[in-house]
Amino acid sequence: MDAVAALPALELPARRAAVRPVTTEPAWVRRTLIALALAFFGLFLLLPLLAVFVEALRKGWAVYLAALVEPDALAALKLTLLAAAIAVPLNLVFGVAAAWAIAKFSFRGKALLLTLIDLPFSVSPVVAGLGLVLLFGGSGWFGAWLAAHEVKILFAVPGIVLATVFVTFPFVARELVPLMQAQGREEEEAAVVLGASGWRTFWHVTLPNVKWGLLYGVILTNARAMGEFGAVSVVSGHIRGQTTTLPLHVEILYNEYQFSAAFAVASLLALLALVTLVVKHAIERRGDFAALRRGSRT
């Protein structure tokens, strides 16, 4: 009985330490900060997203589904997926090559290349679109030549793909450069001394070390490729069923006062984004888990 009676007395100091550890801020500070963050999150992120789904379903499931299976919407979905399917692998290869070059070698113009990679981030997508128009438009630099050879870039699928590639250019490289720089060159040097060829060094040593960062970069690239509006809007020409991507299709429907249909397609876009985020989250957890597993098995 004595031992049982002594127990709460022993626990008390521990519990008090948990309530007010010396290193944390007072409770009201913590609560205010959390409340602020949550309120902001709810008001500016969650509420609009919720509104999209509510509006989309306002006239019922039948109207919602009809808007999605309508031929123009399906064509827009196809085009969006196509643009992403081309932009993502292209920028994956480019991003890895650029990050490799920047992180592992020193050469003239390295700082310039690093700055150029950020260009699509700093330039407005509309400007990027206009740039393409100036190059490939009817009165553009290559316009006459393209017209003579009957190649259509502007107001056609190639233009949309080009614009998408441009705006999603930096994601993979940006993700990899700091990671590769932090890891240094020693492991690669060790591999080469052990007789590995350049390609096998890359495949067996460099790539496994950056795979989680790489996947993360790909996911961000994909999210942006599917959601891009500005640059694509300039070069698309808005030909329904032919050169409209999902974001453009939403705009067209909205401008035609077909609110339910517009919100339905928008919700599809939002769902694609949510799927991307879920995949990203799963990958991050696996990355953490793998690191944890390696770190803790002592």
Binding site: E189, V192, R294
Partner: protein
Amino acid sequence: MSIEVRHICKRFGAFTALDDVSLAFPDGELVALLGPSGCGKTTLLRVIAGLEQSDSGQVLFDGEDASDTHVRERRVGFVFQHYALFRHMSVFDNVAFGLRMKPRRERPSEAEIRRRVMALLELVQLDWLADRFPSQLSGGQRQRIALARALAVEPKVLLLDEPFGALDAKVRKELRRWLRRLHDELHVTSIFVTHDQEEALEVADRVVLMHRGRVEQVGSPEEVYHHPATPFVYDFLGSVNRFEGRVEESGVRVGEALLLHEAPLPAGEAVIAFARPFELDIVPAESDRGVPARVARILAFGASARVELDGEGEPARRFEVELPRERCTALGLTPGQPVRLVPARLRVFAVE
């Protein structure tokens, strides 16, 4: 395999890392490249490995010019300062890497690889760690795995860059004895880089002292320690006491005092004279010999006592004397007491 480097020069921008270095490393020896940081020792090691291209000069393996041989074909084992283990691979896969990277016709079977990797892990006494990842190992274990990985491809030379640099003092001592024993077993020509003179003197067959991209002296540990060729070598290989003076007929005149020494230099020449702490004796201030100094601190633990002294003049020169504890007690030294220092042995260099 013997290694020779001839007239190697290497610059990084305005910095000269190696300035016309020529050296020969005989077959089967364990050689230390010793020098302060920035002296070019690591660069020389990397040039020999082929990880760095020299601006001019040649690297010869067994008398054959290997300067244009790619690092992949040089068959060197390289142990990096921070080990550079592949962090996503298990210890086993790390050691097996070199064997698996061999061209298909030279590659051993997976069973043979397994046998050889386990034999190497036994050699470095870590076979029980085969399934671990590098992040789960201690520094000393990582170092030994890095060594096993380098040995897996049966290198003709083994190059180690500051092999014990990142380890704590105790592990360091153990590992360097272990490396010496390992070398006696394998007899593969080995070169290791270090800035720790104790390490170099204890482990190596021969020591190469480097300073500002040049070779200062090459010799056995005894040779370089007892017969240093330059003031730098003398200074670098342990604590020293330094006297500045002028050569006279029967010794070196330092201030008022005359230190007896058979100087091989002409009288009148300005010189720097060195004596190790154990080569100095302390005599009472009334004595007519020796350089005046004042006791600053007495550290008496162990078999010998260490006495720190301040010399005369501004800024005061510091001296350090090591003498048997009994002698220290007999002298009855106290801090602040004036005494005189008499060197039993001096090493005299002309002022450059």
